[in-house]
């Protein structure tokens, strides 16, 4: 099964030095034999989502391994429909929101509009949810839609919460870049099964091998490891290796 990376971003990060560039991301993927991965330009995160989405699309066109993810910043978006429509028309099928990095609460009206507008059109909505309570608020925003939601950044502080949400709800996926505690992968598989866990590295901002080795050495069945390392994301995104 090809190795796929569910969570990366390229470009300048506002809160630290360095510039984890697209080249750096691609080099990381080459080094670690990642066949494809979700990514977006941090310009969309920190400056202008339309401009960032354009950069992301362009990167995806130049580098087929890069599966483009659109982002939207509700802080300056009273009506999310036009930008969402523009992204869908541009070909985006995966969307990501960053309430913690952008400092807005998940209860804002714009957020609850987004899953409703994307249901039936997008393959997944990824939501940054690393603080306690965030995952619950994110899933609440899904309402009754059948849109798959990927919770990004699940970690020790909210693992129990995330598993409580994911266990009964087949719409909920967890990506793994911040799972770091002993047996966290094993517990996740035990509690929610192996089919909705997505390997994410957080590269190039984060060391690739930290997240990778945690899954690689997890005490789980090899078939489950293959699912986490790529099978689940391939199924979610309807991705297959290029011919």
């Amino acid at each position: 099964m090809p190795l796929l990376d569910a969570n990366t971003a390229f470009g300048y990060w506002a809160n630290r030095d360095g510039n984890p560039s697209l080249e750096s991301l691609l080099a990381t993927w080459t080094k670690h034999k990642v066949e494809a991965g979700c990514s977006l330009s941090t310009t969309g995160l920190f400056l202008d989502s339309a401009q960032g989405n354009q950069l992301t699309l362009e990167a995806g066109r130049q580098h087929p391994a890069l599966l483009p993810v659109a982002t939207l910043d509700p802080r300056y978006c009273a009506d999310p429909m036009p930008p969402l429509t523009a992204c869908l028309e541009s070909g985006f099928r995966v969307f990501a929101l960053f309430p913690e990095t952008q400092d807005w609460p998940l209860g804002v009206a714009q957020f609850t509009e987004i899953p409703r507008r994307l249901a039936g059109k997008a393959r997944a909505l990824m939501v940054e949810a690393s603080a306690p309570g965030a995952a619950t608020a994110a899933v609440r925003g899904l309402g009754e839609t059948d849109l798959p939601m990927v919770l990004m950044g699940t970690n020790l502080e909210n693992l129990a919460e995330a598993l409580c949400l994911a266990r009964p709800d087949p719409r909920i996926y967890l990506e793994t870049h911040r799972l770091s505690s002993t047996d966290s992968v094993e517990m996740a598989v035990e509690q929610m099964g192996p089919d909705r866990l997505l390997f994410g590295s957080g590269a190039p901002r984060q060391y690739f091998s930290s997240a990778h080795l945690l899954v690689r050495y997890a005490g789980i069945e090899e078939a489950d490891r293959d699912k986490i390392f790529g099978g689940n994301l391939a199924r979610l995104l309807d991705w297959s290796p290029p011919a």
Partner: protein, 242 residues
């Protein structure tokens, strides 16, 4: 190469993590080729200072690859001084650990200073866990005042590692442990560049952070192999003052 992990926990922790009994810890050691782990009692960190330290001492007796930290608490100053006297003379106790935030204390509170004064007698390092950026300056004041005491900064200061390594740069008695859940690239290389190749040591925080997660940081770090080896094993001898 066999690895010395300077930061682990023994006992039940209030998180959804794997158990941390001695057998679990030793299983993890075998799994990830850890030669030695230095443990602090979760119960002691949670407030039961005497009971927790005693349970750790009993648990690691007969396990030469497991060493202990005596947990201290500035809120329980007299008891902490007693615990220091009880455990630090023992060979199997490698140092002391304090989590000043747990008691609402800044790292340079009068009580922390009293602990520092008492610790000088034993010539063993003090592992300190900070809350974040606001604790850096008080910690640096403490380290400066007790310049002959060796300090180990847990998790390199956490997610504020960038500020932490710069704050302790000019304090040769402060070592930084590279573990914890923050896997920012390239904190290891920046730590080496800032504090030097001899003051960075390997610690995970297990089971709160898996050793393999931190070994992944070392693997990807853009530093020469001999420096990685030093982080994984040799630098602890300097931390112990040898």
């Amino acid at each position: 190469m066999p690895v010395i992990d300077c930061h682990g926990h023994y006992g039940h922790l209030p998180y959804l993590v794997g158990p941390a009994r001695i057998e679990d810890i030793e299983q993890t050691m075998t799994r990830f080729s850890l030669q030695q782990v230095w443990l602090a009692s979760a119960a002691a960190l949670g407030g039961d200072l005497a009971g927790g330290n005693a349970a750790l001492a009993a648990a690691i007796a007969g396990h030469p690859n497991l060493l202990g930290y005596a947990v201290l608490n500035p809120l329980q100053l007299d008891l902490s001084l007693t615990e220091m006297q009880k455990y630090l003379p023992q060979r199997q106790f490698v140092g002391a650990k304090v989590h000043p935030a747990a008691g609402g204390h800044p790292p340079d509170s009068p009580q922390m200073r009293q602990l520092g004064t008492a610790l000088l007698r034993f010539d063993k390092p003090l592992l300190v866990h900070l809350r974040g950026f606001d604790d850096l300056e008080p910690f640096v004041r403490l380290a400066g005042e007790f310049a002959t005491c060796r300090f180990l900064l847990a998790e390199m200061g956490g997610f504020d590692w960038w500020s932490a390594i710069r704050a302790v740069r000019n304090f040769p008695n402060v070592f930084v442990e590279c573990g914890g859940p923050c896997a920012d690239q390239d904190k290891i290389a920046q730590a080496i560049e800032t504090v030097g190749p001899r003051r960075v040591v390997f610690g995970s925080g297990m089971p709160l952070t898996s050793p393999i997660y931190v070994l992944g940081m070392i693997r990807d770090a853009q530093v020469p192999a001999p420096i990685k080896d030093a982080i994984l094993q040799r630098n602890v001898t300097r931390l112990l003052g040898r």
